[in-house]
Amino acid sequence: MDSLLHTVVLMLEGTQVTLQIFFITLIFSLPLGLLAAFGRLSSLKLVSRFMEFYIWLMRGTPLMLQLLFVYFALPMVGIMLPDLVAALLAFTLNYAAYFAEIFRAGIQSISRGQYEAAKTLGMTHKQTMRRIIIPQMIRYVLPPVSNETINLVKDTSLIYILAMNDLLRVARTIVQREFDMTPFVVAAVFYLIMTAVLTWGFKKLEAYYGKYDQ
């Protein structure tokens, strides 16, 4: 019993690292994704093309490879980043690309009539985006954003290759040391709890943003 308690305590520490990566990535990649979506939809060909390239690059290569690149390749060209920052950079750039595509689809799903109504009421493009388009878009993008967010919880385990002690790496270390599989079960339960909380949160958000459609 004692050893189980000890295991759980160690793994809670690992969970802290996991949650840290998770939240910071989310906080940066969501707004960055929105910006990238606007860039992708920009009428300026150069901006739009650049964003297309960025999204293709990020979605077209493994996140693991991106992590390794930031961690090992950047120092070779003189860019030294602390471990955590390196991990966060890779995660944020990767997830922003996925969010960008989700937001782009959301923005494009709003009918032209909404833009036209706003325009005939004298609203500027910025006002139209902020007051009319984005609030409606949020509703449409919540389910896919929820999906990506749950993916992110699990993807954080990739940082084991950067030798950071996240939840899964802590579990594995204990398993290898003590030949006891319990930590894997505990880790699974921890991931499931985090996912359950997220699912519940997104359900609430969907209800809130969908209230006008009942």
Binding site: S111, G113, Q114, E116, A117, K119, T120, L121, G122, M123, T124, Q127, R131, I132, P135, Q136, R139, Y209, K211, Y212, D213, Q214
Partner: protein, 259 residues
């Protein structure tokens, strides 16, 4: 009703030309709208009447011609006979005296009826919410939807949504109202309530330009009727004259099919 309109020209279109790719949808339209006048534009689908209306407030961009609103040019030809528009900011200012009602209502679905009405006065005209609310309530009473003020548009019937859309446009205190087939998306039994609201507006001498398929409305509520076909104005004149005694063959054929 004729003599109730005075002679101030609120809107003047001169030689409007507009192409979609190779198709010329507007082929030299001249049109005046006087203060207090209700003008109905009728014609077969594809005649360019909706496009013409949408050109007035920049929902479509004209190729050549001149658009003047209350004496201010929104667009006019340069030396190469190509229409040039004023700046975005000036265009918004010139068009601030116009309101538009769409076939598909286009209410903001994430806002309640009241929020739909308040949005533009508060965000665009920077007026105080408390100041606009009584006016919005008055408009909702006028269109008979005061009790729906806190509902979301999805809870309303098409006819009710369209009346909210009219109230939303009126909340900006426009001098000119543009209606783009306001009853075409409605079930027949719901068109009456929208037309009633529009008749009341016409009776109050709101300056209105109405693209419509409702001949009865055009005949009774409009002062002037314009018949368009193939991108040109075929015939125009006093409403009852054009509808009861059309002079042109095209008009006669069209009206015969409508009745």
């Amino acid at each position: 009703m004729e003599n109730m309109t005075n002679n101030q020209v609120m809107l003047r279109l001169t030689q409007i030309h507009k192409k979609f790719d190779e198709l010329e949808v507007l082929r030299g339209i001249d049109l005046d709208l006087k203060k207090g006048e209700t003008k109905a534009i009728i014609g077969p689908s594809g005649s360019g009447k909706s496009t013409l209306l949408r050109c007035i407030n920049r929902l479509e961009i004209i190729d050549s011609g001149k658009i003047e609103i209350k004496g201010r040019a929104l667009a006019q030809n340069n030396s190469e006979n190509v229409a040039e528009y004023v700046s975005e900011k000036e265009a918004r200012d010139i068009l601030s005296c116009t309101g538009m009602v769409f076939q598909q209502f286009n209410l903001f679905p994430h806002m309640t009826v009241m929020q739909n009405l308040l949005e533009a006065p508060v965000q665009v005209q920077k007026r105080k919410k408390e100041e606009v609310i009584p006016e919005a309530e008055e408009l909702l009473r006028k269109v008979g939807l005061f009790e729906k003020r806190d509902n979301y548009p999805s809870r309303l019937s098409g006819g009710q949504q369209q009346r909210v859309a009219i109230a939303r446009a009126l909340c900006m205190k426009p001098d000119i109202m543009l209606f783009d087939e306001p009853t075409s998306a409605l079930d027949p039994e719901l068109t009456g309530e929208v037309l009633k609201t529009m008749r009341e507006l016409a009776a109050e001498h709101m300056t209105m330009l109405v693209v419509t398929h409702e001949m009865a409305f055009a005949r009774e509520a409009a002062n002037q009727v314009v018949f368009m076909a193939d991108g040109v104005i075929v015939e125009q004149g006093p409403a009852q004259q054009v509808i009861d005694h059309p002079q042109e063959e095209r008009t006669q054929a069209f009206l015969k099919n409508m009745l």
